[in-house]
Amino acid sequence: MSVNYIPATFAVLRDTDRCIKCRACERQCSNEVHYYDADFDKMFVHEEQCVDCQRCVTICPTNALKITENPNSFRKASNYSQQLILENYRQAATGAVLLSSMGNPQDFPVYWDKMLINASQVTNPSIDPLREPMETKVFLGKKHTHITRNPDGTIDMSEQSPQLELKYPIMFSAMSYGSISYNAHESLARAATELGTFYNTGEGGLHQDFYQYKTNTIVQVASGRFGVSKDYLDAGAAIEIKMGQGAKPGIGGHLPGKKVSDDVSKTRMIPKGTDAISPAPHHDIYSIEDLRQLIFSLKEATDYKKPVIVKIAAVHNVAAIASGIARSGADILVIDGFRGGTGAAPTRIRDNVGIPIELALASVDQRLRDEQIRNEISIVAAGSIRSSSDAVKAFALGADALYIATPALLAIGCHLCRSCHGAKCNWGIATQRPDLVKRLNPDIAYKRLVNLVRAWDHEIKEMMGGMGINSLEALKGNRLMLRGIGLSDKELQILGIMHAGE
């Protein structure tokens, strides 16, 4: 045993005047931070095990607990942050790749926060969504604009591509069963069903119990092909081919073996307890023409009745790639920005690979218009849409609909401690341990998800009304409704917007 270089990241502060020693914190901490000592008749902590998930703080009946950063600090240096020093210690101790979870926490520019939304004054009226109809329904899919007529002169509508109808323009992004729990999946499925929108199975297959929610399910086919079968494809309202994920462009998924429980192993069709590692590329897709073949294989397998979605991570060449995808038969394109979440990713990749969704979305939308193929494909933006105002800005940049995942997890209790890869989620979300999974009550959680989306929708409608827009179609790509603040000419040019004051 040598010296452990790594101090506790957090300090657990307990107000002993308030603590009644009910020991709920001890019982509920899967990291075994809190413990009771009978000799002292007092609660103590192993604070080095704390991940700041806030479970104990939240349930403490007397508000006796607070978690804060450990005030202990290494000598300050701008170049070598304490974080970097610790990471090197950790790697020196283990010889391993650093793992992280959830979205990129680094201090990169957030372009959502550098764009401002317009409102009507005098020359046209704003519209009050409480008094006038305000529409946020969306259809995703190809829109063929060539009109053919039947012999009687009516429009021939038989040649339409399959469409997804979304009552709310927000869907729940792919999170696999395995990375998140059964109860989390059930909550998402039930919420999507109640809302009339969609949730996404992620790459881990679909548990038999959730086939009943199929009309609101998007099934994902990723490079590992976990859980993919004919029944699975049939169970989706749409099929999503996952080429990449914003949090970890260029690599496949990684589900730690401790999350591969009995049920997860059955659903994924892999042995229990083994790491589920999906390959970095699809081994049947080494180029764009191969993607086309997979798209049409999936369409063939499902009778051309379902839209096929292709999801890519936002990378440097995203506009050209998107253009290729639009010409490859895909109905819907998902662009996932580099701040998107993950259940587990190598830290260096999560924090350094990819580009922001705002820039990727703007350049893809413009590129597809320049190439006159924007009709051929719907665009779903993902990867850190954090609020309804981010959503409005994304629509104005050109998104048809949005995927949210982190906000959905926040709605059901996630406190963004970024420890999903530890598989001991105290909130019952990113874990497969039955005693922890139980902590997420789907009867409560699905209602919170429904509330969240409805609340966002109300706010989107308020902002639309302020702009004098009463249907989301008229906001889509309406970049005149945005102005940049504190952005360079180049950034404005990529976003396709003017600066505030212009």
Binding site: T123, N124, P125, K143, I155, M157, G468, E473, A474, G477
Partner: protein, 368 residues
């Protein structure tokens, strides 16, 4: 520094009026001037214009191009372009009369042209598409030249000024047509350029519009995918292109176009019988980005008819009336009463309701 129209988007309030003789009787532009003049307070002297249909019966098979030139070199360059692509049958300055309030006039010319058959064949385009491309080409590439009217047997006349002065300036009492529309503009800043006045025209489609659409950039960025170039950044321009695209290029009927650009709300559509519901779903979804929101009242002029349309919430005033073979549309009833005191059937069309008045059989025989 103030920017020219097109470099900046200028919101405007407006007055519009229009009428048609369904029997095809030819009425002078004086009536249009009289009608728009009564709504003087709805414009502020920074733009006025007219469109007359059936005014060039002697040249009715030829495209009548009306152009503004900043100078003679722009004119010469344009004429070179026209000579390469068209047979110019007649050309002249458009006659004007001195009006004190109309100043800074550009060179205003008129050309009656026919596409050169060889050029047309080489382009592999149909004739209307060929003409459209040429018009867009002149407007976007020749500095100081602007085609503001390009249809057959019709013409647009517009300027910076109050509409009644503009009408006088262009001597519209000398023209007679079966239908007229007129526009008085109330822009919120000074455009100072004649091309920015309304009506906006492409081929024989003209639009006069009162409103400020909130969907503008969504509509613009969509329609530009189909080869249009919105150089003026005005609502009227983009609405004209939308009509041209849906009517001429996609063969939608005018009422179908109304179902696209002023579509009923989903709840209304859901309450319709199945076939109608499916049709409306199809149109609205297929052309989702052509839905126009925010206030507008427009009169579309085209060969043989007029169509009036309000936004789906009816956020701008517009009334219609009739008298014998005449059909009237205007922002305010007074504009109709001024030229037809005993007009009947005054009504305000509902939001999104397309009101169409066309030449009857006799009128078509006479005028088309």
């Amino acid at each position: 520094m103030l920017q020219k129209e097109g470099a900046v988007r200028i919101p405007s309030g407006c007055a519009i009026t229009g009428f048609i003789s369904r029997d095809g009787r030819r009425i002078t532009g004086a009536d249009a001037i009289k009608s728009i003049a009564v709504m003087h307070d709805r414009s502020n002297g920074l733009g006025g214009g007219f469109a007359g249909y059936g005014i060039y019966p002697e040249y009715k098979e030829l495209y009548a191009f009306h152009l503004f030139f900043n100078n003679n070199s722009a004119r010469e360059e344009t004429e070179r372009f026209l000579n390469e692509h068209f047979d110019i049958v007649n050309l002249s300055r458009i006659p004007t009369r001195q009006v004190k309030s109309i100043t800074n006039e550009p060179l205003i010319w008129r050309y009656f042209v026919n596409p050169l058959p060889t050029r047309l064949a080489a382009s592999q385009l149909d004739e209307t598409e060929f003409v459209t491309k040429c018009v867009i080409n002149i407007n976007t590439t020749i500095n100081g030249a602007y085609v503001f009217s390009s249809g057959k047997n019709m013409g647009v006349f517009k300027a910076v000024g109050f509409p009644e002065d503009v009408g006088k300036f262009y001597r519209l009492d000398d023209y007679a047509g079966y239908s007229w529309t007129a526009h008085g503009r109330y822009p919120t800043n000074t455009p100072g350029w004649w091309g920015g006045a309304h009506p906006f025209a492409l081929l024989d489609y003209t639009i006069v519009h009162n409103g400020e659409i909130s969907s503008y950039d969504a509509n613009r960025r969509y329609i530009e995918m189909f080869g249009y170039k919105c150089t003026l950044l005005t609502d009227t321009e983009v609405i004209t292109y939308i009509f041209d695209f849906l009517h001429r290029r996609r063969n939608l009927s005018l009422t179908e176009i109304a179902d696209v650009i002023a579509s009923p709300f989903w709840t209304t559509i859901d309450a319709k019988p199945t076939a109608e519901r499916e049709r409306l779903y199809y149109l609205r979804n297929t052309f989702a980005s052509l839905l126009i929101t925010g206030p507008f009242s427009i009169i579309l002029g085209y060969s043989g008819g007029l169509m009036a349309l309000n936004d789906r919430l009816k956020l701008r005033s517009m009334v219609t009336a009739e008298k014998d073979d005449m059909f009237f549309i205007a922002s305010e009833e007074c504009a109709i009463r001024e030229i037809c005191p005993d007009a009947t059937g005054i009504r305000a069309p509902r939001g999104g309701e397309a009101v169409i008045a066309e030449l009857n059989e006799e009128g078509r025989r006479k005028c088309l």
